[in-house]
């Protein structure tokens, strides 16, 4: 895994060096999948689940921490979780945790998961004051159960409303936005922490869509089921340069009625997903949601008029792969 990681980093570095819209060596598969991605191997997506994850209504923090360790060990192919985190971050860096809190307590990144990640970051040498938990608005964070913290002597928890946006637009394709300073100025690296859920317009909201929280005008990017907007926003260089890993909070999944929390269309998935390739993660999460929709007798998203075509567009941009033949799905 170490070798393939290294080759993947080289590959991504090459892509980023030429980040002007060209894709990274790709060909079209027979059914719309784009065969792009690291030449050194497939894109790994790890799914870790624990059927006994819950304690009462929410996740058991201790069990969630152990699940996180299992996830990261499997993702990096290492024997202990500390080594996994040391591959992800270096002491002295400022690390951002981009949570998803729009939907309030029911369908947001669980604070228990963020606490577990913060604990492990510190064990890997990141100082507490060099951790920033951020999202679009401070009130979104508060609604999801986070306490706003702005002091420089500890981990910070803040929205873009407090940290601000750049003055100059960043643009790619259909996207033109002011980027959050949390991303551009504060953080050296970002761990993306979306949730597993349906989206009433763009089909699903997972890794790439979560970066709508890094731009000032996400409300402009929903026409045409989000295509190509979701992919184009993710192409903005600071996003591709700084997001190192996606850990999807799939303690609950929501297969209908998103992005707002709809408990009647949620189910306990009791899991976490990890991937470096956001396209592979989004494709995998989409399939999980489709399976649950089918199990509940709901139409596929394509028939519901909201197939997430932007996943294909993202693959065409070279962000990653949506080809199941090139996605290494590992369940632990």
């Amino acid at each position: 895994m170490g070798r393939s990681d290294a080759s993947r980093r080289r590959f991504l570095g090459g892509c980023l060096a030429g980040l002007t819209g060209g894709a990274c060596g790709q060909s079209r598969g027979p059914s719309g999948q784009v065969k792009s991605g690291p030449a050194g191997g497939p894109s790994r997506v790890v799914i870790a689940r624990d059927p006994a994850l819950r304690a009462g209504g929410g996740p058991d923090g201790a069990r969630l921490g152990k699940l996180l360790d299992r996830l990261l060990q499997a993702f990096y192919g290492v024997d202990n979780p500390g080594e996994a985190w040391r591959r992800l971050v270096r002491p002295g860096e400022v690390i951002g945790l981009k949570v998803n809190c729009l939907a309030g307590k029911g369908a947001s990144t669980h604070p228990e998961l963020v606490e577990a990640i913060m604990e492990r970051l510190q064990q890997a040498g990141i100082r507490a004051r060099d951790i920033l938990v951020w999202d679009r608005l401070s009130e979104d964070l508060e609604s999801a159960g986070y306490r706003i913290a702005t002091g420089r002597d500890r981990a910070r928890v803040m929205g873009n409303d407090l940290l601000g946006y750049e003055d100059e637009l960043s643009a790619f394709g259909s996207a033109a936005s002011l980027l959050a300073k949390a991303l551009t100025q504060v953080c050296d690296g970002v761990i993306n922490l979306p949730v597993l859920k349906d989206h009433g317009i763009v089909g699903v909201t997972l890794a790439m869509k979560n970066l709508f929280g890094a731009v000032h005008n996400p409300n402009k990017y929903h026409p045409n089921t989000g295509d190509p907007y979701v992919a184009d926003v993710y192409m903005l260089p600071p996003i591709r340069q700084k997001v190192r890993l996606t850990i999807c909070d799939a303690v609950n999944g929501q297969y209908e009625g998103g992005p707002s929390y709809m408990p009647q269309w949620s189910w306990p998935f009791n899991g976490l997903l990890a991937a470096r390739d956001p396209v592979a993660l989004d494709w995998t999460g989409w399939q999980i949601l489709e399976q649950e929709r089918a199990r509940r007798g709901l139409k596929p998203l394509k028939d519901a008029g909201r197939e997430p075509k932007w996943i294909l567009t993202a693959a065409r941009h070279g962000i990653g792969t949506n080809d199941p033949g090139r996605i290494e799905r590992l369940e632990v």
Binding site: F212, E256, Q264
Partner: protein, 158 residues
Amino acid sequence: MKALGWTTLLALAAAAGCARRAPDPLPAEAAGWSKGRTRSFAAAELWRYVDGDAERYLQAGVVRTLAAEYRHRNGSEAAADVHEMSAAAGARRLFESEPAAGSRAIQVGEAGRSYGPSLTFRRGRYFVRLVAYQDSAETAAALIALARAVDERLRGAP
């Protein structure tokens, strides 16, 4: 004098507009629930509350949305959204656009559905959604009681 007349008319019209709006359909206390933070979003700002979900409310003619947090004396928490539409047809459209599978009809508003930990109902040009963060029969019953209190305040609202 003519200008003064227009000013007076505009003031009266504005006052009449305010009078037509229900003062606050979300009670401070009701059926064991206590209201916490309340926010109000005009249509153009609704995306700040439910980005990605706002469009369907806009298409149905939402005028403003009131959102409040509630806590029950038994510890349950809930969110209450009252969407004020420009016409009753908008409230009906929103209500009927949501899948009824897994729900049961409840006698709240002009039409209502309980999904257990959440419910929706409509009354005139108001579409209401209550969502609890705990899933139990007790919470579901408490949610319906809160819905009835909200509905009572919407009765007679224009």
